[in-house]
Assembly symmetry: D2
Homo-oligomer: 346 residues x 4
């Protein structure tokens, strides 16, 4: 068993990583670190975990933590992750970082987007953007994986086959996305109180959401020239899951059937990508609690517009189960180990 | 008191009309008709109404019904509404029809969109599309009001100031809309069972939803030449309310401030239209249970794109309270009578 | 119009009082006070109220506030209410207090239950426990009304006919009650975050909830000798409403029909009490957003047990609309003014 | 791999069994039978299962089905299960039956409770009531397991330590229970439409729910003499999970600490029973999606009453994962195989 430690273990993404890894056939959770809950029993905070993971939360004292595991998932917030991840890498550990700290190729884009400085720009060169279906080979060799953001995972997986198909030109991509409330994290915040959120629906950060630059950087790399996207996130009253409705105008005649066939070809053999047939529309329910991405493209002949529906679990494929997928690849395990199951339908 | 009858009273929109009118200062509900529940006490079906409206449901026998009230709201489904509405109009009654049967200026568009024939094309000439903020004067004089669809109400109110501003050209309007589950109506349908819907989110009728032609006809009339729109509806897990995120590309330089000022000017004096200030984003919660439409435009300078957020209650401003607003206007009452209140915040 | 001020106006109960009174035919909201939001526009906090109540929140400076209205609803927390209520009473104002501060006949019970001292025990003598269906005559004459707690309103209304019927002896009353999340108030609290509450259900304060003594004091007064009750509250994932399932063992043979007839007789002429017929079970949905209490008793012959189901809206009949009902009585208005309507069914 | 077939595979309990067994290390799902969906691909009905179980649904032709698997879980409704289960047993297959058809020791109690005849009373003698924590040894040897009902599982596990402790006498047990909506099964039913259920809470079958006799028979067997219980089920707006608040009056002095110690001793070594410490209250959230039962007893000294809180997942420990637990035992596998994990916290 490979020993794995989780930093920021008591946030939602961290706790989800603990939950998944607690049942993993090849990893054993040997450390859970939490600044807020140092000294508490993990299963006193997440009562669902009683009997499943009863470890005591460590502080984030890097020396002590590093000794406890062979590899780490860091679920610390952006900026907080940088230093501790750098130390762990320095100590020869493998790390999957869920924050944005190592997702950009340039410190400048990071700093412009997140408004904080980057202290380890040299690590950006070796960090691999961990979207396995696109960068599997690099992930295999990497010590540091920058786990993609949830909206970027959903958007990039939905657009990659089209971007690389030659069917579209840049400049016409518009992403309308909807996330469940867990995306806001685990904290006491009036805006996400039950009575404020239930029965509500609204967009937020309508212009300038941080994930925009992440999506653009990755799509530009796939396309080979600069891609600009519109991105409008919304909050909906469900706990987990995410769906993007992506609009791409095109001058090339196509059909839904042709698009589906392009998508199927692109993702051939990918267990976690389910290209839905015509008329079988992706939904949050079908992916919640899983590492699957459900995608289907449609062609609107009247408007000359391609519409792609892409759905993932923001905490799963958009965070923690994708982190485990990355760990599986890094260690040469079957990529599906511990994350192959279907979600609860109800 | 003006006597009012509700046809299709046991559907959600019909029942909402009964609920509103039961407390109205100038109308008295004297008949509730329901094919499915003829002979039942209305408050045995809607137990919230016990003591508030305990009328026995009539059949839809047109002769009997016509004598019972001075005016009617028909909440019958499309196609089912045509004949009975025509009869009531023939009998000299005023009617607000919630179905699509009299919303189009041409029978051809109706027939193409709804796939059923129109037996009373001459009535299409006199029927008024009942969006009070746009057609108040005509509504005042009309005997037959075609109450707008929910998505069209939300979309048209959100676009009218821009359409008439000269800031945009046609062909670039894309409407992404989200509705609560009550939009599917009251019927036993596996797709809308609690366990199927809760925690879920997905688009439906991604291409070719019926409201598209209704929106296009009205916007074209406002614009003075043909307008084409993309329209993608989604279903979200809340009961009532609706929000549209509308994208309009423009070559004209603008600003959020300028747009808000255009919108405020256009809707000056309109009680039910609340143009939200910059940073104050419309939400379903703020309009659910009301006749308000909350709207705000934004200008995305980077993309040269205007984004309009428009929120209404699909059963309120998108159906029954707008029907009451129309009745108020038709009878010369204060337009706000019985529908002026704020919604339950929680 | 009688001028009314709301203290603690930005909590859920306060805001609900503002919402109801904004549409009231005889009261005009002239002051909204909020310690946390002094200086803010009320409708910036409760965006549903834009255009309906745009008053600026006052501080709770008692002198300034007192001059602004003829009567007040205080929605301040217990202990915080005492002094300001006493001042307003001293200034000759009528007050309905939603806190527990004036609900007990003795300061001792209050102090034991709430763990804080009572500085105005003499006011306890003149304060009237404001359950209109039981104490209407006293309410008419009172200057200070202690508005009942939500669980007590639900429980006492459900038990009063039985308690006074002679059918039961003391000592066998067991109240199992379930509340919506709004009962926890409006505050940033991790326990009531959407992701923590949605999909969850659990009891809390299983032994010793504060409302126990309030229920016991009132039932004892009705019975004429000491009544002891078991009371177990639960939290369920809905926003507003409350339902109690009350078990009373009895040695007297009875029948559901007889019990219903006793309940109907007891509440004859009471608009807001709806005794449900056999087989018509009260539900949260039927009362949410209203001032109604829906009640039905059943007789379980096999067990010799009476079961009473009682449902109210915790923010309505359990708080703010009952406060308005009390104000209506205190001012001699039609008791139903502004609160007669049915709730949103959906 | 042992081949397992699921009958009634497209109901919620059946589908949950398929989901669990699709990832099981020792069982392989080789047949899914569904009367309503014969010929359909299972993952077209449950879209979450795409790529995980894409079997075509068989009819329930018993000959054909029997050949396809070594053992079966029947998730058919009561009465429908009898004959097919008897045939499978006759064909030498092992069967876990989720219906009530083989739960009673006498056909008479079954017939009185369910209002249908029993055609295979001799099978009642060999069928084992499959509550592993109580009947593990018998389960090991059985060919036919009657999987317990959800409410009975929750209630009996919550009461067994107390019933066998000698602390209480009969006649004073009152079970107040709350279930999620999945308990109503998968069917188009107006009562469980999203708009009817969301935001609602109510009791149902307040007197005479069928599970009462099942609970009484099992508790009587544990006690050694007849036990009578009150049982009141409620429906709450969440999808899965169940919680019982059980009241037991006692004349014996006790303490919460003593009770917890009795419960811990009784369930010593039971992985799936988590006795919660004082102050750590069971909740639906902690058990949803799992095979755990979370239980804690409290002693209310003032009332001389023991209160037990017991929570399970109605589809998990109350149905399908318990069926898998039974299969694990019947085949001598590690009892936790495939069902050991914690539930999604969010």
């Amino acid at each position: 068993m490979v020993r794995v430690g989780i930093l920021g273990a008591t946030g939602y993404a961290g706790a989800e990583a603990v939950r998944i890894l607690a049942m993993h056939p090849y990893f054993k959770v040997t450390a859970v670190a939490s600044k807020s809950f140092e000294g508490s029993v993990f299963s006193d905070i997440y009562t669902n975990m009683k009997g499943v993971c009863d470890l005591v939360c460590d502080s984030s004292d890097i020396e002590a933590i590093a000794a406890k595991a062979d590899c780490f998932i860091s679920a610390l917030p952006h900026a907080a992750s940088q230093k501790i991840v750098a130390s762990l890498i320095g100590a020869g550990k493998k790390v999957v970082d869920l924050s944005a700290d190592f997702r950009y190729s340039s410190a400048e884009t990071y700093e412009r987007t997140y408004g904080v400085g980057h202290e380890f720009p040299e690590l950006l060169k070796t960090a691999v953007y961990g979207l396995p279906e696109i960068a599997r080979i690099k992930i295999k060799e990497a010590a540091l994986i920058a786990n993609p953001g949830c909206y970027p995972t959903c958007s990039i997986l939905g657009l990659a086959p089209l971007i690389t198909s030659g069917l579209i030109s840049t400049g016409s991509i518009n992403i309308n996305a909807v996330s469940g409330v867990s995306g806001a994290g685990r904290k006491a915040d009036l805006n996400y109180q039950y009575c404020e959120t239930d029965g509500n629906f609204a967009p937020y950060k309508i212009i300038g959401h941080r994930h925009t630059t992440e999506i653009e950087e990755q799509l530009s790399a796939l396309m080979g020239n600069p891609v600009v996207v519109g991105f409008t996130p919304h909050l909906a009253p469900f706990k987990r899951g995410m769906l993007a409705t992506i609009y791409v105008d095109t001058n090339t005649q196509s059909s839904t059937e042709e698009l589906i066939s392009i998508y199927k070809e692109y993702y051939k053999g990918e267990y976690f990508i389910r290209i839905r047939e015509k008329g079988d529309i992706p939904s949050v329910k079908a992916v919640a609690g899983t590492n699957f991405a459900d995608i289907t493209p449609l062609y609107d002949e009247r408007l000359g517009r391609i519409i792609i529906i892409s759905a993932i679990d923001n905490l799963g494929k958009g965070a923690s189960s994708q982190a485990v997928q990355n760990l599986n690849i890094m260690y040469g395990f079957d990529e599906k180990s511990g994350i192959a199951g279907a979600g609860l339908y109800i």
